[in-house]
Amino acid sequence: MLKHSSTSGFLDFVYDFYKGMKEHEITLVYEGEINHQIMKAFTSLAEGHMTKHAESELLQKKVYHVMVECLQNISKHASHPEVKDDTDYNRGIFLVSRNNDVYNITTGNIIKKEKILYLKELLGHINSLSKTDLNELYKKQLKEGHLSDKGGAGLGFIDIRRKTGKDLEYQFLPLSDSHSFFLFTSTIPRK
């Protein structure tokens, strides 16, 4: 009996999940390890989807670019409270949604709390800049920045805002004394 009710509870959840996805017009959702192969698979899926929906080539490129940068962010910065050496811990959630006006690319991953202040300042600063200042910041970082061990150039967030023209949206949800959940959404106008 218990087994039956928990199974039906699970199926109810699956149906609610399906309805939620439809309601929020989510075209792709994933939770798990983010690595290079996964990134290639998702970008290729999205390209297929966009070609099918006859999106302009420029929009396809923008969505593709934001997806690549967001997925690479997770593979470089995700963390976990129960994993001691989290250099290879690359898990997170990844969602793509689309409505009449925009594509949204959303990521969520666990980060160490000590990174929050830095991220808040960085993202806030990027959002505060004019287009010209953003281009200057990009060039400065391109010239003076160094590639990290994980291949990050410190340019991803700057370039996402430049290419989408939209503010970066983000939230930090506390999980424990040491870790928080970092949610990040980029919006790409379809026109």
Partner: protein
Amino acid sequence: MDDSPKVKFTHEDGKLELSGKSLPEDVSAFYAPILEWLENYALNPQPLTEITFKLTYFNTASSKLILDMLTILEKMSEEGKNVVVNWYYPEYDEDMRDAGQEYSEMVDVPFKHISYNP
């Protein structure tokens, strides 16, 4: 799906061409031999050196390595060598066009910006 650009070097012609997409898994490892080749080439270059970028996409990590390549070229130019960069961009792709503009403002090397219909 290809994640690394096609690279074509011909020392005798002084030509280097990168085409396609650039988002290799290990961007430093991918570009290291290219930068090394270019540095060695710079010691004994042809009368004219031509670097062609015909990329359809590159990620921000690659953009750093592209600047490193251009910086080697800039040094050659400062030493009085004849160098030119051909920056191709698909005609619809204003982002790729702007990237070429930006690079040409960052390094002191003659740039040709060329739009094409892919």
